[in-house]
Symmetry: C2
Subunit: 157 residues, 2 copies
């Protein structure tokens, strides 16, 4: 898995908030969001707290409370969300898990991986929440987990 599940939830939630924010200025209810995205409420809450402490969201308690984007959604990239939850590892670590990935003492796949992850970084650094959220409605994209179903990974058998 490239991104942790927490991270994918964080991305889906960020897009949800950006999408709602384009319609009203109110805080987005975590309860409502967890239902519509089919993500466990308490687990989602924790992830949103990480995004809040990372300066991506702000939160408000009480009735009419919830979360909202702290900054202009045009200024928040998907990489910001990934880094807030999974850290920079995806963009800095050795693909083979060797410590200290770099040119000085590269592993046998460093040359290839270095290019691919840079591409990954720049591609998602260039995707901001505003445009990405807008594309959901324009292109009728999927961005919520299905109702009861569980995702299962393919495996070598």
């Amino acid at each position: 898995m490239v991104l942790s599940k927490a991270c994918t939830y964080g991305i889906l939630a960020s897009l949800y908030v950006a999408r709602e924010s384009s319609r009203s200025k109110d805080y987005v209810s975590i309860g409502k969001m967890s239902k519509e995205l089919n993500i466990s409420f308490h687990f989602l809450t924790k992830i949103l707290q990480q995004l809040t402490s990372a300066g991506i969201l702000v939160s408000m308690k009480g009735p009419k409370g919830g979360v909202a984007l702290k900054r202009d959604p045009k200024e928040i990239s998907l990489v910001d969300v990934v880094v807030a939850i999974d850290g920079m590892g995806l963009f800095t670590d050795c693909l083979l898990g060797l410590p200290g990935c770099g040119e000085e003492k590269p592993c046998p796949v460093h040359g290839e991986w270095d290019g691919i992850r840079a591409n990954l970084f720049h591609t998602f650094r260039g995707k901001n929440l505003e445009e990405t959220a807008k594309s959901i409605d324009e292109l009728n994209l999927r961005f919520a987990l299905p109702a009861g179903a569980e995702v299962d990974r393919e495996d070598s058998g």
Copy 2:
């Protein structure tokens, strides 16, 4: 983490076997390999069993036993090893964990991810064990874990 730890161990071990095979026709001892790569013997054994049942390695018990490549190392790509251990998920699954990744009902990052993972696939599909193992000696590359050290992931604090 892009690849499971088991998968990175499998790649390092495959390269080790390919490198040894280029020098002699004997089976490569798993005990010796686990010591030189600093990978837990029993854990490595299980990973090698997966590679054996996937038709990448053959094994032999008893003194002078061990593992060897089943096919010409020129014909075994790094993708073969990845797929044998982690499955095809890396190359087929939705980056956001939604079920049924595809053009019909794409998620907001499908376009980008689809291209990047195809690049990833073709790049490592093009790297075979023979050439990759040879490059280790020619370029003095790293391909073993350090002695006692543990790798730690960067995290968002």
